[in-house]
Amino acid sequence: MAKKIIEVDQVVVKFAGDSGDGMQLTGTQLSNTAALVGDNVSTFPDYPAEIRAPQGTVGGVSGFQLHFGKTVKTPGDFADVLVAMNPAALKANAKWIKDGGTVIIDIDAFTEKNFKKAGCEEDKLKNLYEGYNLIEAPISSLTKDSLAETGLDAKSILRSKNMFALGIVYNLFGRPMDHSFNFLDAKFGKKPQIAEANKKTMRDGFNYALAIQAMPSFRIHSSQIEKGKYRNISGNQAAAWGLLAAAEKAELPLFLGSYPITPATEIIQEIAKRRDLGAKSFQAEDEIGGIVTSIGAAFAGNFACTSTSGPGLALKSEAIGLAVITELPLVVVNVQRGGPSTGLPTKTEQSDLFQALYGRNGESPVPVIAASTPSNCFDYAFEASRIALEHMTPVLLLTDGFIANGTEPWKYPAMADLPKIKTKLISKNAKEYVPYDRDPETLVRPWAIPGMEGFEHRLGGLEKMDKTGNVSYIAENHEVMSIYRDEKIKKIADYIPEIEVEGDKDADTLVIGWGSTYGHITTAVSQLKEGGTKLAHAHFTYINPLPRNTEEVLSKYKNIVVCEINMGQFINYLRMKFPKFNYEAYNKIQGLPFTVSELKEKFIEVAAK
């Protein structure tokens, strides 16, 4: 019997195993290789809240899903191929396998003991197999065989079993191993024996798959990737780099005061590495210290930022108000996660929107921007920085666990192609400095920093007198200043792009999303288009202020459906801003992104109205 060859535009693969099984590494390898040969790629790591939950349990399963091929905007809903290293991994992922998909299990790990640990009986799990192309691969034992002669100890040998699985998968998809070989050589530079062992296992896995008839073989249609220089990037890394790029373009030192919190921690970690670029990361004693050191740094003339997630943003809310009233530039990156309270710290959600917009005492307007893909976290971090520095205001950048941890190949820019950021630093030669003397166009005040002779002035959290910035308790002045602060943010609408509608602009139904739901929504819309369903799609990344053509766009559609991973915050924001339109809500609050299929179902229903 000849191998079954499956022709596809793209595939979804998921690796799942124990936290210690190296699934994140395996997935990253496949994803990098795919990107290198010119596939579009999107990934979604998914790990437990515990560092290392008990071995073999469902709670301890660590997964890595990736989607690669021609048209890829999400990590995919259902897996074409699932690699499950033990019963718990299979159990946890069973419902995410495509009908007729391939399931490769390490049959050596499917022991009675492990079924028990997974909290399910063998028979029950067997039921799950039906409908799938199940391949019972003796991965552990073949790995042992493969390395029997290396002289490595049993534990080290078994640690290579993920490479065996990776080899299998490379074969399945006809993707080369040499990229991973190079990686292993570099990683184990000082331990060539280990590198060789891993490479051997991978090769053996590759050959094993070649030999087994039941393994399908995928032929993935080549994609048309834009020309350019690429690298893989996660949302958190991209956000950090976007801030660094903005500092360079503003010609200011970068300062990031922060405190670790899942899933935002990688941002401070990335900045901490960049002492070579002169960046100062300051790991404060808490979130309040993180933002207030940054406000101090902004006062002192650095480009200051802070990064956090929901509970941390709550702690920063008082200090954000201080940045609002002192009108200092500051970027606050908030990587959303499941709430309320500690909630679901490793899961994704879009439920901090209202906190970002309104979570402060008093009338305290702040621009809010939301990135929508891992790589455009770079662009929107840069944009948030530009707005902060050019409009002298704190800016909130929202991302979330889904895009922060997800990766994709990124056609990265040359710095020369990015716009210069024009800070509001007053010229040393200016005659005088009036702290709150606003630019009549933008209402932005000028910036003078300690060290500049003759421009000494005092800032603070008390209401300030128009122009001079001195403390003022005058009733009318408070109204004047409140309106200035409000108008200043509203005017930013003139300095951001209009919103563009994708899909069929002249459809009756407009699908609205914001932030990280972009990939799923755009995929659903374009797939439905192929099936003849006409839909327009407006995706919001600038939330406050909204793009100036928003009302005009909304007015063109009969039905408007607003999709969010929360209980309906953006829809309520739209109701506030444009109450005259009718909006329908589509929400999910499971700590997971939408699936393309559930979106399609909903859109078909709405479009039929």
Binding site: L277, A284, F299, A300, N302, P450, G451, V471
Partner: protein
């Protein structure tokens, strides 16, 4: 050092009306600060005076320097951020006992632990002034205040003890109306590299008037204060005949000329001793058994956070081949689609 000074203390007065109560200790302290600044060598534009919230924290508004009146409790992190961002500045942190030790206690101990090069002036009036008289973490056990109508039930912090508990390198104590002494202490504090904590007993004439009378009262002050000077014997008293000696692991007050005690027996103050044991004992001396210690009690050398940060940046820069964003973007694994 230039002999001709660039400024007089008046150069440091801003155009804003001083709004403390008449007689408030804050006014005298401000005079000391302005006098110290007039004697120091910094350029005026290189001063940054930052604070939290409280009566004392209004301070920056009255200074003709760069200034920042922050939010309650955050003076320490505000100062840390300013200094870490621009180590060239002379950063002065003004904070009350509530601001520094109640809501701001954590930033206080971490700033000290990091030894950030800031002059930290703790205005200790043992009360919340601005909110009109509630007890603070330095109010005495049993003190009756607006929130303790039956007396507090909380042991107060000894600020100096907490400073040492947080690994502090500098601690001094003064009194609001001792302008000359305070000025000199502030000059030494500014010279010290690291977090220089200066606790200043400050009278709140409205809500805790005369709380320090047992120390500053005319009749008692000579016997109840000891002003320490580095390298000088620890002598005090109206007749300058009392001194401190060590007895086991404790301090003892002795009288020179009695029991065969001579000046040579008296402890000599060494603010530079790294071992904190004696400094701690001096800080903890309490009325009525001991005089209260004033002056610079501890001033030991240690690297500051801000200098180590600059140093690390230089070192990493020297070794790295990523020197601009383009380098970073092109670093590691990249590929080209043609």
């Amino acid at each position: 050092m230039s002999t001709e000074k660039k400024y007089t203390f008046k150069d440091f007065k801003s155009d804003q009306e001083v709004r403390w109560c008449p007689g408030c200790g804050d006014i005298a302290i401000m005079n000391s600060v302005q006098k110290a600044m007039a004697q120091l060598d910094h350029n005026k534009e290189d001063y940054a005076v930052v604070s939290g919230i409280g009566c004392s924290s209004r301070f920056p508004y009255y200074m003709n320097t760069y200034g920042f009146h922050g939010i309650h409790g955050r003076a320490g992190v505000l100062a840390s951020g300013v200094k870490a961002a621009n180590p060239k500045l002379s950063v002065w942190q003004i904070t009350g006992d509530g601001d520094a030790l109640a809501i701001g206690g954590n930033h206080f101990i971490h700033e000290i632990r990091r030894n950030i090069d800031v002059n930290l002036l703790l205005f200790n009036n043992q009360i919340y002034g601005l909110t009109k008289g509630q007890y603070s973490p330095t109010s005495l056990l049993g003190q009756v205040t607006k929130t303790s109508p039956y007396g507090t039930i909380e042991e107060p912090f000894h600020p100096g003890e907490l400073v040492l508990g947080a690994r502090g390198t500098f601690f001094a104590r003064s009194i609001d109306n001792k302008v000359k002494e305070t000025t000199n202490i502030l000059i030494e504090a500014d010279g010290h590299r690291g977090t220089s904590v200066v606790e200043i007993l400050q009278n709140c004439v409205i809500f805790n008037h005369g709380f320090y009378n047992h120390i500053v009262g005319k009749d008692v002050r000579d016997d109840n204060q000891i002003w320490l000077e580095h390298g000088k014997p620890m002598i005090f008293g109206k007749e300058k005949n009392k001194g401190l000696v060590i007895d086991g692991l404790k301090l003892k007050v002795v009288t020179i000329g009695e029991d065969g005690i001579t000046e040579a027996d008296i402890l000599v103050h060494d603010e530079k001793e790294e071992n904190p044991t004696l400094h701690m004992a001096l800080i903890n001396m309490q009325h009525p058994n001991f005089p209260t210690a004033f002056g610079v009690i501890r001033a030991v050398k240690k690297d500051t956070y801000d200098s180590l940060l600059e140093k690390q940046i230089e070192e990493v820069k020297a070794k790295s081949n990523i020197l601009c964003m383009d380098d970073l973007l092109n670093s590691g694994e990249t590929w080209t689609i043609e």
